[in-house]
Amino acid sequence: MSSDQSSAGAKGPAKAAIDPLDFVDTRALLSGEERAITDTVRRFVDDKIVNRVGGWFENGEFPAREIAPQLGEIGLLGMHLDGFGCAGTNAVSYGQACLELEAGDSGLRSFVSVQGSLAMFPIRAYGSQEQCEQWLPPMATGSTIGCFGLTEPDSGSDPGSMRTRARRDGSDWILNGRKMWITNGSIADVAVVWAETDEGVRGFLVPSGTPGFGQYQIHQKMSLRASDTGELVLDDVRLPDAAVLPGVHGLRGPLSCLTEARFGILFGALGAARASYAAARSYAMERQQFGRPIAGFQLTQAKFASMVSALSQGTLLALHLGRMKDDGRLAPDHVSLGKMSNVRTALDICRLARTILGANGISLEYPVIRHMTNLESVLTYEGTEEVHALVVGKAVTGLDAFR
């Protein structure tokens, strides 16, 4: 029953022409179908995720077995793949879905990225008919969870230095090595493991429970806490020849998967940014200091102006790259530029948003610090910011600065 300051100023029927959360009306660039997909994901996140994810983050857990079937029912898992129970949407829809998921939490979006782009994509692209039939339908419904094992304790940005080895033994394969920092690693039912062989790098489908295959959760994370991150240990793991992905040899295999997932990230990160900006905006309109809402101070407004222009630019870039992908004109260099640029943009927006919440900005009661620390992982995984800068730099100059 206190007086309502904010509505006292807003009078008259004048319709706001500007939507503060979509300043340049990027929604107008979406088709009806893309809007419907966006709305479905936004509604799911609002109804099922937003109220709970702060608690998951605090406890360092993600209830994958509960959430995965719900994601599957909507059609989010492997959504941009064709056949075998996948929805078969276009690339812009996939990007929009990632954005709305990450407005919930980067951990949720990571789950969907890994399942769809890193685990299902290589099976769809490089797997045999039998492998597709066995794995894809249950992965699309979410009853089977996948992970992607490329990074190792001593091999990150330079995956060519991997030590995990697979050697032939009769018609079987024997795998040895360790994979580190693997999203969904400790809970996955099947791991796509990349290993060096005499024929170059190859992908293996390793079911959980295979003798010699250990899956362990990584603790002490300060980022992406509402997401399982694991370590895979391969100790003389024997697999039949039917477990190897027949369609690809060499690093091109895992790198093509990463290009798919990164494409989702260049949309996704903006979701975290939008949610943080939105939280800061509503906070600033309510919060009074020096006798008035902090939204009324010039410094705060400068922050909003900076956030909203960065968000608008990032969204336009994402949609443009999405259209290029749907037209078949998107190169990995474009994806590198988009991932590097938009994750950095998102992180800057979250940090600005955090300051606006003052002390509440460091509390999990608000989403901002969670998004901000999550984005530290997003900045590093799927190719670090520096590595993407090198990719862009090479495309710009023709000179390779990696080594």
Binding site: S7, I74, L76, G88, T89
Partner: protein, 261 residues
Amino acid sequence: MKIIVCVKQVPDTWAEKRLDPATSRLDRASGDAVLNELDEYAVEEALRIAEATAGSVTVVTMGPERAAEALRKTLQMGADAAVHLLDERLAGSDAVGTSYALATLLAAREFDLVLLGSESTDARTSLLPAMLAERLGLPQMTFAAQVEVDPVARTVRIHRQTEAGYDVVEGSMPAVVSVVEKINEPRYPSFKGIMAAKKKPLETVSLADAGIDPEQVGGDHAWSAVVDFAQRPPRGAGVVVSDDGQAAHQLADFLAAEKLL
């Protein structure tokens, strides 16, 4: 079972609504428009019954061109077909005219059940389900919080929500049933549903197509007219109650004075 669901497109529930001074009608052009929320529950219930009885769901709306968006949403949820009654002469119809137009359209079609939301968030009369049933000469079973159908005995049984609890009401099919929010949790349109919707039939019907008499519909033939309207006065300053031991009494008195207790 063949089920028809009548839906309405309404201004976004959360947006500020505006009357057009020239026509005294709701300004439907500005702002977002959405499928009336309770109609989503009606569509959901229809889909569940159709799934259980290997039936079909056809969704009908009467409304301006953009109301097709609401129909498309129901197709994305899983409805099989949609019919859009679209004619300029329908603009401004009151509940009497609307029920006449929809009843005329429905009478020419085959169905076992008509489902509706129990009210729209814009006009909020709750009249249409009853009027429609009356015009079609069918059992009217309104405010259903639960619906059970027996396709063999051709009966419908509902829990009719009342202030005290619920009444169990049974009727024969075909019947007209309106639903309340409690009935179910509407599904999200799945991606497959969204993609399949493009290929589903969406038929546009004019007054002449449906055999609707233009003299009985539209603003000029409405039984009621808006004579005048005024802007609601801006919200005044509230009262701050500080707790000196009497706050609970003051709050209770306030609620009682507002007839909320």
